[in-house]
Point group: C4
Chain length 190, copies 4
């Protein structure tokens, strides 16, 4: 089974997700500065989710490039990742429309942590399909960044119920540490 | 006529369908646990339809890979399959928003059975375009799983009007038996 | 300039259009047979537009296959065609939600005739980019079917204000004469 | 890193954006000429945004064709451009639904100017990844058209608060000067 179609399908789904996010940016009821100001929290979460999906596309892309083969398990692990990513527009809209209320902010974190776990599962499926000395395995290494992100999400979820802005801050922090394409893999590519 | 563009178009349509499903997950009017709990049936159907479309993508992918050529009849049979799949977001939304009412649950089954029949027609069109000793024909075999799924759908439709949860259970059951990529074809691929 | 990316972009846009049509199928307010029956005209137009877009994809595909090169003029003629096709979900929704009222039925015809003219312009742009003895030019021939369709649309638009069902009948008639992939081009392909 | 997947992802996102624009064309509440006439400003902005996105696709396409390699910086500059383009359906809907009110018209200009700046940044990132004598660098030249467009947008934003139709006129003017594919690059391609 070729990895081309897996890449094309994943690219397609992520491209659609990143684009339909905008459909959840509801037109404000009015055309004055007040209407624009009321969109600020929604817009902030929109930017966050956009970058978040961009990072997944980027890292997914790097991982696929280092991979050499694909099997049935990888295909389902990939669909599992896409499932959690597919919920991003929904939680983004919920969080935005409720002006960053505690529960939606926590659920946003739950979707993020599930997507991160799904990515880890996909990464493991890719690695077990390649030998112990493969380029991919060497490139992923200890995956400190991945584990650290999971810890941040795990902290942000309960924090949402106490100081939701701190939770949002943690989400932004995770986005910032990932914004650079993964040097672990890139540096090992020809 | 090349099969590449057929694959690309089908992949595109299925990727969009699986993604716009999320647009039917309406943001609940509230931000408390009650609002979240009220989304449970909708969410369940969302997961079901997501996996269902994922299975079609997967099997379509395997069938195209085993195929060697494409003709006008295959093209229309493929569009016919995509038509029934295109109704999935609609019936998912209807079933979710009416909390799994009898009629929408039955119509969900009607769309599933029509999609399954369309897939069978497409499979037949593919097979008749290939010789009797083709890899594809050998790979499909007796298609017990396909026939069994049709029987399950046929049972679920009337069942929807009596105990709709049993119908939903049958849909979940069919999804479970298909979740593994079709070994009939995969095992015969190089 | 390669024709691959033109094909990919057009396929992408048509695949998205054919898919987002379903987003205009609004969930009916109710879950009984009455609710389902009230969807019939909407559903009929949905099917019509789906097949209509499928035919464009199909013929566009055949034309691109016969083509050998692409230039700036073709690119804009193609975007012009996509523009008219992009209005299909809107007119479909309007016609469906107003239960086939005269004006929306006429506007549906206007969009169809503009799309057909845009296709003719694109076809001409393709032909002038190829020599007088090209495979494409020979394949298109007199384009009787295209001219006949234009005449049907031109008749259907005023007819919408008198007997709108006759106009809908004409649209269905045009769809039926196009449902077979264009043999003029296909028969000349290797 | 290959430029193929960057092109495919960008094409995908722009194709989806240009298509979901139509979802913001809300069906008018009525089926008479009055309902149709009330859609005129919305429709005008729809056409403008459609052509605007078409131009970006076109120029992006030409730039990618002249490019020979891609790096991490280009990837993020590209995502940055897609971010601003992704806001086009939102500002189009806002401007259309408020019948070209001053503030939405100005914000439309802000999104246009940010997209133009993002394109310039992407162009610079592409050029710095290629040598001083590269085909791309020679092709872009002084980019008078790009700088002139930026000046037009900068003038249109304050103008929106005084005579919004003049601002809309400036947007149309910029679209007109770009509608021809960039001869600077095209003429230098083989």
């Amino acid at each position: 089974m070729s990895k081309t179609r897996l890449e094309a399908f994943s690219d397609g789904v992520i491209a659609i997700l990143i684009t339909i996010l905008v459909l959840e940016l509801k037109v404000p009821p009015g055309s004055d500065w007040q209407a624009l100001r009321s969109m600020l929290p929604t817009f902030l979460i929109y930017v966050l989710s956009f970058v978040f999906l961009g990072i997944y596309w980027n890292n997914h892309h790097h991982m696929c490039q280092a991979a050499e083969r694909v099997n049935g398990k990888i295909l389902w692990a990939n669909l599992h990742l896409l499932f959690w990513l597919s919920l991003v527009p929904f939680v983004t809209a919920w969080m935005g429309q409720t002006k960053l209320s505690p529960l939606p902010t926590a659920i946003y974190g739950v979707v993020l942590i599930c997507a991160a776990l799904a990515y880890t599962i996909l990464q493991t499926a890719f690695m077990s399909a390649h030998g112990p000395n493969s380029r991919l395995r060497a490139a992923v290494g200890n995956d400190y960044k991945g584990k650290f992100s999971l810890a941040c999400y795990a902290a942000a979820i309960p924090l949402s119920f106490i100081v939701q802005w701190a939770a949002v801050g943690l989400y932004i922090f995770v986005v910032l540490i990932w914004i650079v394409p993964d040097p672990r893999i890139e540096s090992r590519l020809p």
